[in-house]
C-alpha cells in the first residue's frame, strides 16, 4: 500500500525554524526564499514525494502544518 501526501503551511504564523525540514524523510519540505510579514523564511512543500507521514507537523513548535494523505 502506498500513500501520497500533501501539507499546507500557515505561512503567516511559521517562524522558519527549519525543524520540520530536518525531520522530513522524503525531503519534501524546504524553507522558502520568500519571507512572511514578520521576515521569516517560511516552510513550504517542494516536489511530489510527500507521503503524508506527519513528522513535520508533530515536531512543528508553532503547529502551523496541516497534513493530508490519500491511499493510491
Amino acid at each position: 500500500m502506498a500513500f501520497k501526501g500533501a501539507i499546507e503551511v500557515d505561512t503567516a504564523k511559521c517562524k522558519g525554524c527549519g525543524v520540520c525540514v530536518e525531520n522530513c524523510p522524503t525531503k519534501s519540505i524546504e524553507l522558502s526564499k520568500m519571507v512572511n510579514s514578520k521576515g521569516y523564511n517560511y516552510a513550504e512543500m517542494v516536489g511530489e514525494a510527500c507521503i503524508g507521514c506527519s513528522n513535520c507537523a508533530i515536531v512543528c513548535p508553532d503547529s502551523v502544518i496541516t497534513v493530508y494523505r490519500v491511499k493510491i
Binding site: 503524508g52 513535520c56 493530508y68 493510491i72
Partner: protein, 257 residues
C-alpha cells in the same frame, strides 16, 4: 493525482488541535516549549478532559502558556507551582491537575516545593522542561547547566569549583516513595515527540489512580540562550545534554516485571 486534489478536508490526517488557541506563540523560532504545549493539548483532546483539566503555569518563558492552551489555568509564584497544584488537586480530586515548569523555576527556586510535593505523593502531573539555562532573563546559568557550558553568567563555561555540579533531579525524586512515574523524554525528532506524548498521556492517567506524583522531564533546547540555530541546538542537545540527561523511564510503579 495532483497536490490540489489531495488537499481536501476528508484527507486530513493531522491538524492543529482546537485545545491550542489561535494566538501566535511568543517563543523564539524552534523553541521546544511550543512542541510540548502541542503534545499536552493533543493528550487533553484525546482523553477528552478539556473541562476537567487545571493547569499551573510557572515563572519563566512558559508563564504565558495560559495564552496558548484552552484549559483552566492558575499562575504560581516563582517555583511554587507544585504547592498551588497540591491545593487545586486536594480541593478538586476528580480534576486532572498539572504544572508546567522550566528548570530555572523547578530545579532552582522551586526545589523545596517539588521535593516535598513528591515526598507527600500528591496526585498531580509535573511537566519539567530542562534546557540547562534561564531562557527568559537572558541565558544565565541554571542549576542544570552542564559543566563547561557557556552562559551569560559563566562566559568561560561552568566550572565545578566555582559554580558546583549540574543538578540531576529526576533520579533524586525517584527515591521518594510518593512518586509513581518518572520519565525523561525529548521532542527534537518526530519519534522522540511521539514517545514524549505517550509518556505525558501515561502521566495524566496515573494522576487519577491515586498512586502518587507523575513527573515528565523533557530535555529541551533554548537556541536563543545557547546562541545557535534551532537545528544546531537540537544537534548540540543530542551530543551534550543526552549523556548527562539520558532519555527513558526512570521509575514506573505499575510496570509489570
Amino acid at each position: 493525482m495532483n497536490i490540489e486534489d489531495i488537499k481536501k478536508p476528508e484527507n486530513i490526517v493531522y491538524k492543529k488541535t482546537p485545545i491550542l488557541t489561535d494566538n501566535v506563540m511568543h517563543y523564539c523560532p524552534g523553541c521546544s516549549h511550543g512542541t510540548v504545549h502541542k503534545l499536552i493539548a493533543e493528550v487533553i483532546e484525546e482523553m477528552g478532559i478539556q473541562e476537567e483539566t487545571i493547569a499551573v503555569s510557572p515563572v519563566g518563558c512558559s508563564v504565558f502558556a495560559y495564552n496558548y492552551l484552552n484549559v483552566d489555568w492558575q499562575q504560581a509564584a516563582h517555583g511554587r507551582a507544585p504547592a498551588l497544584a497540591t491545593a487545586a488537586k486536594r480541593l478538586n480530586p476528580e480534576k486532572y491537575v498539572f504544572t508546567y515548569q522550566g528548570d530555572g523555576d523547578l530545579a532552582s527556586i522551586g526545589t523545596a516545593e517539588i521535593i516535598h510535593a513528591c515526598s507527600r505523593g500528591e496526585n498531580i502531573v509535573v511537566i519539567f522542561i530542562n534546557n540547562g539555562i534561564y531562557g527568559m532573563t537572558g541565558g544565565q546559568m541554571a542549576p542544570t547547566t552542564l559543566l563547561g557550558m557557556k552562559t551569560s553568567t559563566t562566559p568561560y563555561g561552568r566550572d565545578a569549583k566555582l559554580n558546583g555540579f549540574p543538578l540531576v533531579l529526576a533520579p533524586m525524586i525517584a527515591q521518594l516513595d510518593g512518586t509513581a512515574f518518572i520519565t525523561r523524554q525529548s521532542v527534537h525528532t518526530a519519534v522522540a515527540a511521539r514517545k514524549a506524548k505517550a509518556a505525558i498521556k501515561k502521566a495524566f492517567e496515573y494522576s487519577q489512580k491515586g498512586i502518587g506524583l507523575s513527573f515528565v522531564e523533557i530535555v529541551a533546547t533554548c537556541n536563543s540562550g545557547w546562541k545557535m540555530s534551532p537545528t544546531a541546538a537540537n544537534k548540540w542537545m543530542v551530543e551534550n545534554m543526552f549523556p548527562k540527561y539520558p532519555l527513558g523511564d526512570i521509575k514506573d510503579v505499575l510496570k509489570q516485571e
